[in-house]
């Protein structure tokens, strides 16, 4: 073409536009090779959480939430999730330092690297889920309608009488489905169907009927950016929590028998 003497083209941002294809391919392959060389031990924690807890102390923030995690009169921790943490501590190995508080306090401390882990029935749809690290879900519970064994479910949910604990998500969802909700703190021995979570129904040995209204995915929270620690937990949890729903239902049944009722968390007194 008819150009005036050669000048630098406008789009040569870093003057590399006219490279032949081997160069970018080579650079990418080089980067990948470098990555694979340091692959052992990848990823690393910016705050060395995993290194720090192994052989030392594990600071766990616990949101009190029976039967996931709760303290008895003597100050000892119980719960299906507490179980999981204690077994993790055996594996690391580490000594657990339990810290209790409200969810917002504990998450804030976690965010500032004052804690290594926060547990207590946390779910992945929490408002803070983008501020800290979240494990893959280790257990999913469903909120649905339950009937006592042998009884048949109502044909229509619309207008049906359903019992639920006041202030529970199950009550709100049942109302949303059009049911007439009867509020009661004592779900045991209810003649009518109840709206509750799957582990509560399992503890009562009632049957879940119909499609779940909501599924809650339970997770653990870790400090932001601690990717090696997160990977460790993501590898630990699936195997360790394989029978979590059974353990949770058992905890609940035990609490029912012991007459525990100080923590109204939608649970049965």
């Amino acid at each position: 073409m008819e150009f005036l003497p050669q000048q630098r083209p406008m789009y040569a941002r870093f003057d590399l536009l006219d490279l032949r294809w081997p160069t970018p391919v080579g650079m990418l392959i080089g980067a990948l090779w470098l990555a694979s060389m340091s692959g052992c031990g990848f990823p690393h924690d910016p705050e060395q959480t995993l290194q720090r807890v192994q052989g030392h102390t594990l600071r766990v923030g616990v949101v009190q939430h029976p039967p996931w995690a709760y303290r008895d009169g003597q100050g000892k921790w119980h719960g299906a999730e507490v179980d999981l943490v204690e077994r993790l501590a055996e594996q690391l190995p580490a000594q657990v330092h339990w810290i209790t508080g409200s969810e917002s306090e504990l998450i804030e401390a976690l965010r500032r690297f004052e804690l290594d882990l926060v547990i207590g029935g946390l779910t992945d749809d929490a408002v803070w889920s983008s501020e800290v690290g979240i494990t893959a879900s280790y257990y999913s519970s469903r909120i649905s309608l339950g009937v006592r064994p042998g009884k048949s479910p109502p044909e229509e949910l619309e207008g049906a009488n359903v019992a639920a604990v006041p202030g529970s998500l199950a009550a709100a969802l049942a109302k949303g489905e059009g049911a007439k909700v009867e509020y009661t703190d004592d779900l045991v021995g209810m003649p009518i169907p109840i709206a509750a979570e799957s582990w509560q129904l399992a503890a009562l040995e009632w049957a879940e009927v119909g499609e779940p209204w909501k599924t809650l995915h339970h997770v653990w929270a870790v400090p932001p950016g601690e990717n090696a620690w997160l990977l460790y937990l993501d590898r630990y949890l699936p195997a360790a929590a394989a029978d979590f729903s059974r353990r949770l239902a058992e905890e609940e049944r035990q609490r029912l028998q012991e007459g525990q009722g100080t923590e109204p968390s939608g649970a049965l007194p």
Binding site: F14, L17, A35, G133, N227
Partner: protein
Amino acid sequence: MKPTADFELPPERAKDLRQAKQLSWATLAYLATVIPLMGWVMGSSQAMRTAWIEDLLSLVPPIGFLVAARIRFRPHSEHYPYGFHRATNIAFLLAALALLVMGGYLLGDAVGKLIIAEHPTIGSVTLLGHTFWQGWLMLPVLVYATIPAFILGRLKLPVANQLHDKPLYADAAMNKADWMTGVAAAVGVLGIGYGWWWADAVAAGVIALSVFNDGVQNLRAVIGDLMDRAPQSVDHSKYLDLPERLKMALQELPWVQHADVRLREHGHVLYGEAFLVMRDGGRVGGRVGGRDGVDVTERAEQALATAYDLDWRLHELVVQFLPEAETDRASEGDG
């Protein structure tokens, strides 16, 4: 108003146009696979997210080209006497604006993340029974998002050159430079793997800066195009010497004492005016075919034929015959 004649591409350029259309469709098909894939693996990595948005933005130029290709060859009408050739420039303007705005926003985002010292969490993914770090998934996806774009860019460049299509050229250049985005994002992800939380935000900032720069450069280029700037090469790096050559070609005509030329670009078509001073005193108004009149129409046709032979892009030249008096001023000024 009298519309200019409809423009038709010469056969080789028509072939180039078909190839350009095919390459644009290929780009769109390729991006349709890259975008969901990147969206799936990007996680909370700021660098990956920025690269993903850059990929989304690179949908605009090919779509703009294809839509403009339908519009630009419409018959010239009374209301659009110069035709629709600037359709590509308009599409290009929109693309440049999008790049500018998104680039600026993403740059601010990246800097913000550095200031608040946000540590990006990249968790695990479980595939085929194995749980591994999600960063390992990002790297092959980056390779797929980068290498084919580079190849497409290289294929589009010569076609854009032949067609003298500036938006297409800019699109091709941006595709070719995609490999730098890939490397930056890969370095960001690997940096996080090393434990440098800031690597992600820095890589995102670098990519955002390049997107912003693309926006600025392209905006400057297309604004000039739309303002009838003197014709430039397809990569906007230099002014064409076509006006000079046209002027010289016209001055070679026996009856031309002095010629001046003015050209402007409409997409890949050129319109212009030529100001000719006739050697024999320029009896403008001489009767056509008359015994003592100069056959002005014949001379005009001669001038036009000379011009149109010079370059396929020259679509219409309006020839003006200047009275002799103006030459004194003109010949003093030029060489």
